[in-house]
């Protein structure tokens, strides 16, 4: 059984990072605070948005919106949640907005939705490596109901506890747990079907 490692860039935030951001805020140096936040959480916000939207373009758009919004609201940041939870909460909302808007846009022009960045069939060989498995998983996640996808992504993509995920999603921790427990077999079946078919749909 292959054992995957977490991506190399995924470093836990240190107290030092958070302190530096708070210090910049206290000094009313919003540009520095935003720069630190972007350096620290930019990749994470992007990957979260990608897992939620399955579109590089939308993820990029969401990330930019999130940090523009963060800059606007930095002075009002009360510190009740961590910066990470705050950012992920905003990202989640912007992802929901972006996917809705994207759906309206593509319906209007009857265009192929770039949301489904379908994999190149030739790219998928029998010997599935970890990045391919992650791509298949992304495709399968997109098939889940939004609430289930939310729960799985917050818990296992973002590695949040159910309590932390609950604060972001606004649902009870037990409800999220149930959703994840129900979603995992569906994901597994979807992944297996795609692996056996040799190409994602």
């Amino acid at each position: 059984m292959a054992m995957w490692k977490k991506p190399a860039g995924d470093v836990e935030p240190t107290v030092h990072d958070e302190d530096e951001i708070h210090a910049a805020l206290r000094a009313n140096d919003l540009r520095r605070a935003l720069t630190l936040l972007m350096n620290r959480y930019g990749d994470e916000v992007y990957r979260f948005a990608y897992a939620m939207t399955r579109s590089r373009h939308l993820a990029d758009e969401v990330r930019q919106q999130v940090f523009v919004e963060v800059y606007r609201d930095l002075t009002g940041f009360a510190g009740r949640a961590s910066f990470r939870a705050w950012l992920l909460g905003i990202t989640r909302h912007r992802c929901l907005d972006a996917t809705k808007k994207h759906r309206r846009w593509t319906n209007r022009f009857k265009n192929e939705p770039p949301l489904d960045e379908e994999l190149d069939e030739h790219e998928l060989e029998r010997d599935v490596d970890r990045s391919k498995l992650a791509k298949i998983l992304a495709a399968c996640l997109a098939k889940l109901a939004p609430a289930a996808r939310d729960a799985v992504v917050l818990r296992y993509h973002q590695d949040l506890s159910y309590d932390e995920a609950s604060a972001i999603a606004g649902d009870q921790a037990g409800t999220l747990q149930q959703r994840v427990a129900r979603a995992l077999p569906v994901l597994r079946r979807c992944v297996d079907a795609r692996l056996h078919a040799g190409a994602p749909r």
């Binding site: 930019q64 022009f109 009857k110 149930q178 597994r188």
Partner: protein
């Protein structure tokens, strides 16, 4: 017992962080548990292999500075409407004056073609929407009247504006015609907006441009070009 039991009950226990004594003695359930673990370990990798965009922070700052410089939306729409009305009036006066003095060239009908070695290919109109497909290295040829403006976006980012403050080889304008000849070197969905009259609102995103054009009641044509 089969692994169905695991996916029905064992996974709930695992999510709650509780022991599942049954799993110890059931090979199918142990396999199913390992399969769940594999899934969970692969989940954080979603999006991890996407190449880093070195300019994203610069774009955030650009947006922040742009937002600060812009008037609020309500004023922007009103301003756009007023400017569009003024532009339409000027155009009308200009056309009237020209018509009284000399013959006007025929109004150029806007057109968009995706061409491969100068041969038009794969253009269709689906449900009233102009839709074109093509391949990387094809050319996008757009033509419109001399007072028109052509904006081309790829995945919501402006690729070309014709005319634009900066001269570009792809944009040619003469007294009768505005022409764009763009080599499509990147795959993606391109949005071509041809605006029938001078439009003062700076390019933003195609959906926002379209909303502003509709709000200002200006004529425009939109083409979607999908390049694979």
């Amino acid at each position: 017992m089969t692994c169905e039991r695991y996916w029905r009950e064992g996974v709930v226990l695992a999510e709650r962080g509780l022991d599942d004594p049954h799993r110890e003695g059931c090979l199918d359930c142990a396999r199913a548990h390992a399969s769940r673990q594999e899934l969970l370990e692969a989940l954080p990798l979603i999006g991890a292999d996407i190449p880093e965009d070195p300019y994203w922070q610069a774009r955030v700052w650009e947006r922040i500075e742009g937002t600060a410089a812009r008037p609020p939306w309500r004023w922007r729409w009103q301003l756009a409407g007023a400017l569009a009305a003024a532009a339409a009036l000027l155009l009308w006066i200009g056309v009237g004056r020209d018509r009284s003095g000399r013959d006007q060239p025929d109004e150029v009908r806007p057109s968009v073609e995706v061409t491969e070695s100068d041969v038009p290919i794969r253009s269709t109109v689906v449900n009233g929407n102009h839709r074109h497909t093509g391949h990387v290295r094809d050319h996008l040829l757009a033509k419109a009247g001399a007072t028109s403006e052509i904006r081309i976006y790829r995945e919501n980012h402006l690729v070309l504006q014709c005319p634009s403050p900066q001269a570009s080889a792809e944009c040619v304008r003469d007294p009768h015609l505005t022409t764009v000849d763009l080599l499509l070197s990147v795959p993606g969905t391109y949005d071509v907006i041809i605006i029938g009259a001078p439009f003062t609102l700076p390019p933003n995103r195609p959906d926002e441009d379209v909303a502003a054009l509709e709000s200002a009641a200006l004529s425009y044509e939109e083409h979607i070009v999908v390049i694979r």
